[in-house]
């Protein structure tokens, strides 16, 4: 064993040293379109509406995000049906969901990445752009008719542009939504509202009045005690509030910059007047003892505990949390009723803040050298972007996992369950068949996205969909050097914004010191940061008109 290791080690040293000499891929644009060597298995007349089927059996390695609720099984119908429809075998490299991103980063860094890298959220591709490890997929849109079609039909141009890098190309194949799908909001004890004769709050100001009324009736409780505070304090609350004040994001969706559409320029989110106003709003809630000051540091379990014991009535929520957490938690209180309310409206008016881009795929550059490259791009296009592929990934196989009603609308087969839609059914769409898998099924038309939503959630979506979409900020891609510099400024800046945010909210710092806070941000290179952003924005605007 050890002797062998030694010989291997010598080889490994050589390999390590050899790697030094490999420089980043030289990009020859003329070369990138000559695909004659890479057409093995590809279809000739592949277009929208074509069922992709490789002309010879091919297989592609894929990084697989293994979900604990439906661990990977090799005998899933998904794999076998995929094989028979497309002649493609996927070779999954299983990675636990808990640490997926770390392993992906390691594999790319070590040059050992599989060809397909799914579950990549927008902006996660950016660190890999400059090394040339990731394929600039925008160069190959002609191989992906369904993707091009959806971008055009759903008018996703501005969103896609935000993914463009300094070279004008984009490197991520994002999931696409026809309609924005917003999930996070607040959940409110509706039985308490009824008891106190209150309406469901529509705006943040309504919410304040509702909380006040609750406090008046139950002086011993903090009516609002929030969760989702770890590791980012006020993760959800700050974020949805920032949306409502017209900012780009805060909390767990911390955004350094927000686009001011009127002035046509970027501003530092944490230094804007709107940000100050939303902190003043939260400070008012805390100082009048309407919002539990522990909201920003407590664990989720603690927050749920307070809700369960009627020590609080309002809490951050998404659709799943209401069904999986709050209702079971409250089950021992027969009167308790809780529901997710439509996102309260703030100064920015009635907007739906959700992004229409979802997580998606990166493709390793080395795929370009494969003789099956074209077939792979066609396959990706079919599975992730065609209506048929999306329906297959979500619903499965007609007659086995779902059936169609007279109007052609799919419904679950009676013996198949998902999210409790067919309670007691012996088989599970995810666990036993491998469909509705987060790696393969996301985005699409609203009918598809909302297929498994409860009636309650569909009503929520109806309200949200009636609201105007948010303005998409213009792209401002950094060069490699800029990104390195900006990233070193970013962490201290963000830390300071978080810290001051909590101090202002909790009343540990007076708003009279707001200007001092701005000066502190300046001393932490806020101005240089914004200068770089503006420069990048203008450069991109001028270059790409």
């Amino acid at each position: 064993m050890f002797r062998r290791s030694w010989r291997h080690a010598a080889a490994a040293t050589a390999a390590l040293l050899a790697l030094t000499s490999i420089t980043a891929c030289s990009d020859d644009p003329a070369e990138s379109q000559d695909l004659s060597e890479n057409r093995a298995g590809a279809m000739d007349g592949y277009a929208v509406g074509t069922q992709f089927k490789a002309t010879e059996p091919v297989s592609f390695p894929i990084l697989y995000n293994n979900h604990p609720n439906y661990p990977l099984k090799n005998d899933w119908l998904f794999w076998s049906e995929l094989k028979s429809r497309t002649n493609v075998t996927l070779e999954p490299v299983a990675v636990p969901l808990s640490d997926y991103e770390q392993k992906r980063s390691l594999l790319i860094g070590a040059g050992d990445a599989p060809l397909l890298l799914p579950k990549t959220y927008p902006s996660q591709e950016e660190p890999y752009v400059s090394s040339g490890a990731i394929l600039p997929v925008s160069d190959y849109l002609n191989l992906m008719p369904n993707l091009s079609d959806k971008i055009e039909k759903w008018n996703l141009g501005p969103e896609i542009d935000t993914r463009r890098q300094d070279d004008g190309k984009f490197y991520l194949l994002p999931g696409l939504h026809e309609k924005a799908w917003h999930d996070y909001s607040l959940a409110v004890r509706t039985d308490i509202l009824e008891e106190l004769n209150l309406e469901v709050p529509k705006t943040w100001d309504d919410l304040y009045l509702v909380l006040k009324a609750m406090k008046a009736a139950y002086p011993d409780v903090y009516p609002f005690s929030d969760r989702f505070s770890q590791p980012n304090p006020g993760g959800n609350l700050l974020n949805i509030l920032a949306f409502s004040y017209g900012l780009q994001g805060a909390g767990w969706n911390f955004q350094h910059t927000s686009w001011n559409a009127q002035a046509q320029k970027f501003e530092y989110t944490g230094a804007t007047e709107q940000y100050k106003q939303m902190l003043q709003y939260l400070n008012k809630l805390v100082s009048e003892k309407l919002l539990d000051p522990e909201s920003f540091t407590q664990t989720d379990d603690k927050a749920r505990q307070k809700l369960a014991n009627s020590q609080s009535f309002v809490i951050s929520a998404n659709a799943q949390a209401v069904v999986n957490d709050y209702r079971p938690d409250l089950s021992r209180n027969p009167d308790a009723k809780i529901a997710k309310i439509p996102l309260p409206i703030g100064p920015a008016g009635e907007i739906n803040p959700a992004d229409r881009l979802e997580n998606g795929l990166m493709i390793s550059s080395k795929a370009r050298d494969s003789k099956n490259f074209v077939a792979m791009m066609q396959f990706v296009d079919w599975l992730f972007y065609s209506d048929e592929g999306q329906e297959f990934a979500k619903w499965g196989v007609e007659g086995q996992t779902f059936v169609r009603d007279a109007a052609g609308k799919p419904t679950l087969a009676p013996d198949v369950d998902i999210i409790g839609l067919n309670p007691g059914a012996p088989k599970h769409l995810q666990k036993d068949f491998g469909f509705y898998n987060g790696v393969f099924a996301y985005g699409g038309k609203p009918e598809l996205v909302q297929a498994f939503f409860s009636e309650e959630e569909q009503q929520f979506q109806e309200v949200m969909n009636a609201r105007a979409p948010r303005v998409v900020p213009p792209p401002h891609p950094f060069t490699d050097e800029e990104r390195e510099q900006v990233s070193l400024w970013a962490t201290p800046l963000r830390d300071h914004v978080y810290q001051a945010t909590l101090q202002f909210i909790l009343g540990q710092r007076d708003f009279a010191q707001w200007d001092a806070y701005l000066a502190e941000l300046k001393s932490k290179n806020m101005d240089s940061y914004m200068e770089t952003v503006t420069k990048a924005y203008e450069r991109f605007r001028d270059k790409n008109n």
Partner: protein, 324 residues
């Protein structure tokens, strides 16, 4: 094997100062001939260190080269001391550096002596079953995941938690402990004590078994009471273990518990709670700047090495025991 020592070995210094190289190689040859069996035992471990420890260290070169994720693992081009200068000029770095020293120092101050005391107390227990029971129980915290420990700490210290109930019972005002920077160090060190002290006794208890019973007998004959026996027999008996652990703890001083701090701190407590590793984590998370991290890592390692070498030197000079 241990028989021939100074008498037969070096000596050449006095006779001729001329060929020190030959003399050294000669004595090496002699040492090899005499102790080749011992050296042979070291071959596999040395191979291990060479392959699995020293070879990957080549990667640290990226502290001085620009690394791009997905590019060469040894970086793209030389940047000299750019990353070193970067962190030396970063005020946040010095803040977290100080925090690291203070938390590391406090941890050392409490977590080093307490296991010794507990081990000595356990050693005085005369019912064997009781001793075993206490021992086994005191190891339990070591097995709890840090996530659970952190959750328990937060539960205890919340506004309506046990600690604040006591505070309120004593006519005090409830304190939001986890939001107060001045409390963080106390909280961290006490939870660390709770978690590590029991497990830390194992080595001392193992060392205590090696102490010669006759020494106690002799001390008793000299009229020493239990206290003096402990002082003159027990403590000197476990001194090599104590010194080894002290030196190692001093060396590991900079590596304060990353995961626990990550779970317990929040932006309000950054002024006291943020340490090098957590700062690097936040830096890395946002920017995947491996070069910068490597530069700080080397700096940290250098400090650790200097600390351990000085501690070793001092230990050798003062108590005569040392790592090498």
């Amino acid at each position: 094997m241990s028989a021939p020592t100074t008498a037969t070995s070096p000596a050449p210094d006095t006779t001729t100062p001329a060929p020190p190289v030959r003399a050294r190689s000669q004595s090496w040859r002699r040492a090899l001939r005499r102790d080749w069996q011992l050296y042979s035992l070291a071959i596999l471990p040395l191979l291990f260190f060479l392959i699995f420890r020293y070879l990957p260290m080549l990667g640290n070169v990226i502290a001085f080269r620009r690394f791009q994720p997905g590019g060469s693992i040894f970086g793209e081009y030389w940047v000299g001391l750019r990353y070193v200068k970067m962190f030396l000029n970063d005020p946040t770095f010095w803040n977290v550096f100080n925090n690291t020293l203070i938390l590391g120092g406090l941890t050392l101050l409490f977590c080093f002596p307490l296991p010794i005391i507990l081990a000595l107390l356990l050693n005085e227990v005369r019912t064997r079953r009781l001793k075993q029971f206490v021992q086994s129980v005191s190891y339990l915290p070591h097995f709890l995941s840090i996530v659970i420990v952190a959750a328990m700490v937060m539960q205890l210290l919340s506004m309506d938690g046990t600690v604040n109930q006591l505070v309120k019972a004593g006519d005090g005002e409830a304190i939001p402990f986890l939001q107060r920077p001045e409390w963080f160090r106390t909280i961290y060190v006490s939870s660390e004590v709770w978690q590590t002290v029991g497990w830390g006794t194992i080595l001392y208890l193992a060392a205590l078994t090696t102490i010669d019973e006759d020494l106690y007998e002799a001390a008793r004959i000299d009229g020493a009471n239990r206290w003096r026996q402990t002082w003159h027999v027990t403590l000197p008996g476990i001194r090599p273990t104590m010194v080894t652990l002290l030196i190692l703890n001093i060396g590991a001083f900079m590596a304060v518990g990353f995961e626990k701090i990550l779970l317990l701190y929040n932006p309000l407590t950054y002024p006291t709670a943020d340490v090098i590793s957590t700062y690097l984590f936040r830096m890395g998370f946002a920017s995947s700047n491996f070069s910068y991290a490597a530069a700080i890592g080397l700096f940290e390692a250098l400090i650790g090495l200097i600390l351990v070498m000085s501690a070793n030197l001092i230990a050798r000079r003062t108590v005569g025991t040392s790592l090498w």
